[in-house]
């Protein structure tokens, strides 16, 4: 026990007791680590179990942690040490010395101004050339951003690639459909709906909804989440991500939420065998918007 000059015998005794208690706690904590480590070994040997693994790991690590903290706070000598803060900036002499050394080299260069400029241009040109491998990371964004595999005559299929007949859907029914043989195309998921209300077709789309069926892109025009929720009474498609809401009877016009554009519509037809087909690609690029989305 270190001497402390302004300490009464009672304070010294209290400090001694605290130190002894601290030692016991520290030893006990290390003991917890030892036992928990053994436990962890046994759990592993017996095949592992996440809750027990976590518990024993926590006890093993915590034992060491508590031991160290108790040791540091209870029976290490408490001192308040003062350290000087020297001025961080260099002295004027140090800066002058550095400048003198640096300028020796610079002075030589300064007489070769042209070489310095050419050196700079060379570095810039090289760095510019090194950017080109980045071009290999991906294709030029082309027509693919605006097309889907849907085209005139392409059948609509379910997720299992099975074609669909018009009367497969009851009133208020909704089905997720894809272009035939492209059930994994990420830009083509489509919702096929037979709404119970009367569809008000957009100008030019009067023939797009045979037999009271309507099809829109399932990808929200906000940030591309699938618009998975259909409120059949209000004829509203709701996107679960950010709550954009589209009116199915009115060309999937956005009526609430952050989406600013209607869902692109797929023109529907019925082929000679009675299956549903597309009569062309969507009315616009599917998914989220981009800079030149509206240009050809």
């Amino acid at each position: 026990m270190t001497e402390r000059p302004d300490e009464t015998p009672e304070q010294r005794e209290a400090r001694r007791r605290r130190a002894v208690l601290g030692e016991r706690w520290t030893a006990a904590s290390f003991g917890v680590t030892i036992v928990a480590s053994l436990g962890l070994g046994i759990v592993f040997w017996r095949g592992g179990q996440p809750q027990l693994e976590g518990l024993f790991l926590a006890l093993a690590l915590g034992g060491i942690g508590v031991a160290l903290v108790v040791w540091a706070t209870q029976f290490m000598p408490k001192q308040e040490i003062e350290e000087e803060r020297k001025d961080l900036a260099s002295t004027d002499e140090e800066v002058a010395e550095f400048q003198a050394e640096f300028e020796r080299g610079e002075h030589i260069l300064a007489r070769r101004g042209l070489l310095v400029k050419m050196g700079g241009a060379a570095m810039a040109a090289l760095l510019g050339a090194l950017v080109f491998p980045i071009r290999s990371l991906g294709p030029r964004p082309g027509k693919g951003f605006k097309d889907t595999p849907f085209a005139k005559g392409v059948r609509l299929v379910t997720r299992d690639n099975k074609p669909i007949r018009a009367d497969d859907l009851v009133t208020d029914g909704i089905l997720t459909v894809f272009p035939e043989d492209h059930t994994r195309a990420a830009d083509a998921p489509t919702v096929l709906i037979r709404p119970s209300g009367e569809i008000r077709p957009r100008p030019g789309r009067e023939g797009w909804t045979p037999d009271g069926l309507v099809a829109y892109s399932k990808l929200c025009t906000h940030v591309g989440c699938p618009v998975g929720l259909y409120q059949s009474e209000e004829h509203l498609l709701l996107c679960p991500c950010h709550q954009s809401t589209f009116d199915v009877l009115d060309g999937a016009r956005p009526v609430f939420g952050p989406a600013a554009r209607p869902l692109p519509q797929l023109p529907l037809g019925i082929d000679d065998d009675g299956y549903l087909v597309a009569e062309g690609d969507f009315s616009g690029p599917t998914g989220a918007g981009f800079w030149d989305r509206d240009r050809d």
Binding site: Q51, L57, L61, G65, A72, C225, G228
Partner: protein, 474 residues
């Protein structure tokens, strides 16, 4: 005996005794709020250790496979190898699940500790000269942490994180002129592309961690070089630092905190389920589930996307789509202001002095009010990421919830800022009434154009540190 000989052996080759003595003798001030940054550091250590373990089992391949492991509900389901290896890691690798859950909890804690640490630094004015560089390093670490966390949980290619990836793709698309190029280069084509998981893997385990490690090193080195700031108190001045030496007290406490942080993370990782990807199913671009939220540190971005009205700019056949404004522009302004803050405050207060003594929040009512208002804004945005959950929990219309949050986002910040300002003034008044002086009175703003030079250095004090009389810590 053995350690002494080993140390001597090393010293004969490296000559480190003096450096070690200086390093171990350095003084660190003692305040609980200075531990928050340490917690972030130790969470990062746990991330690296658990993450390394996970890399031995995770396979970042988008090759389609059929699951045949021990989790019955997924038997026979088609999925990518990445998702399959994540499920296998969770169920068929001993300690796999606990390591993955500790890793995920550690990421959540890492970012939470960074944000709380940022708040401590902001509200105590520790970003002021000479610590502007470290402030910038810190904000960069926050940004990299957010990106790395997002990259990490998107690796598993589950339904929930895949939806988040689609959103990230669409946000990239929304950037004017370059958006489609950036998205195509990053994803290797249209979403999802065949490469995104393996690219995110390299980003997540190599590129970003390398930069983060380097920046953490710089952050600590600068902190040691400049010496930690301290609260005002008896014996504490601008030209000294009072506290504990690294060896043994501070080192024991810090290493102890590291073990305790790791222990808490292990407890969470073992007992608190997090990111149960087997319940979400593999990612399919045509499916989504309701109540889809990102991890907490992305919440402000998701909330912004939900609340921002459906405005777009369309002209001459070109468009700036809606997501650009909340997700790119607002985010850019957020971090731009964060970066600029030390310089903005210095300009507005006219205070260009070195500061090693910290403020209490009440000492700077305007700064505190602005900080509280900003926090209120981002808290509302974060809560707004759960508009659908709020609506279903309380049985109210989600449209009503969205409109309420929009109003809250505009009203809460000024109200919170005003309340904070009044609180500071009140606390100051009570201090004065009790005779406690207001430390570091705010320097009056100078005329534009005149800069205050740092005050001339007093005579250098003797260089050996002297123990101060034991006195009450602030």
């Amino acid at each position: 005996m053995v350690t002494r000989r080993v140390a001597r052996w090393a010293d004969q080759r490296l000559g480190a005794a003096n450096f070690a003595r200086t390093a171990l003798g350095k003084v660190f001030p003692d305040h609980w709020s200075f531990l928050i940054g340490e917690v972030a550091l130790y969470a990062f250590v746990v991330l690296v250790l658990t993450g390394t373990y996970l890399t031995f089992f995770f396979d970042p391949s988008q090759q389609e496979v059929v699951y045949n492991g021990s989790y019955d509900p997924l038997r026979g389901v088609e999925m990518t190898e990445a998702y399959r290896s994540a499920v296998e890691l969770s169920f068929d690798v001993r300690a796999g699940l606990v390591m993955r859950q500790i890793h995920h909890w550690a990421a959540l804690l890492f970012l939470a500790a960074i944000v709380v640490h940022l708040m401590r630094v902001f509200f105590t004015g520790a970003f002021r000269r000479p610590r502007e560089i470290n402030w910038i390093v810190g904000v960069v670490l926050l940004i990299l942490g957010i990106f790395n966390g997002f990259a990490g949980y998107s690796l598993l290619d589950d339904q929930l994180s895949g939806t988040g990836l689609r959103i990230a793709y669409s946000i990239t698309l929304s950037i004017p002129i370059a958006g489609t190029w950036l998205a195509s280069l990053l994803f290797g084509g249209e979403f999802p592309g065949p490469d995104i998981i393996s690219r995110l893997y390299v980003i997540h385990i190599l590129l970003l961690p390398a930069v983060i490690v380097g920046l953490i090193g710089a952050h600590l080195a600068i902190l040691v070089r400049q010496k930690h700031a301290q609260f005002p108190g008896p014996g504490r001045r601008e030209d000294n630092v009072v506290g504990e030496r690294v060896w043994p007290t501070f080192a024991f406490k810090s290493i102890g905190l590291m073990f305790i942080t790791a222990a808490v993370l292990c407890l969470l990782g073992g007992l608190a389920q997090i990111n149960p990807v087997w319940l979400y199913g593999p990612f399919r671009p045509d499916e989504v589930s309701s109540a889809s939220q990102p991890d907490w540190y992305m919440g402000w971005l998701d909330g912004a996307l939900r609340l921002f009205p459906n405005w777009e700019i369309r002209a001459f056949g070109y468009q700036v789509p809606n997501p650009f404004f909340p997700a790119v522009l607002m985010a850019g302004v957020t971090f731009g202001l964060l970066f600029a803050w030390p310089f903005l405050e210095a300009r507005w207060t006219g205070d260009h002095d070195n500061h090693h003594l910290l403020d209490r929040p009440r000492d700077r009512p305007v700064r505190t009010a602005l900080g509280v208002a900003t926090l209120a804004f981002y808290t509302v945005l974060t809560l707004a990421a759960a508009t659908d959950v709020t609506a279903t929990t309380f049985g109210v219309s989600v449209n009503g919830v969205v409109r309420s949050f929009r109003a809250l986002a505009l009203l809460a910040p000024p109200v919170a800022g005003f309340v904070a300002y009044r609180l500071c003034k009140e606390l100051q008044a009570r201090d004065i009434a009790r005779g406690i002086p207001v430390p570091n009175p705010q320097p009056r703003p100078r005329r534009a154009g005149s800069r205050r030079r740092p005050p001339p250095r007093p005579e250098p004090a003797p260089s050996t540190p002297e123990p101060v009389e034991p006195s009450a810590a602030p």
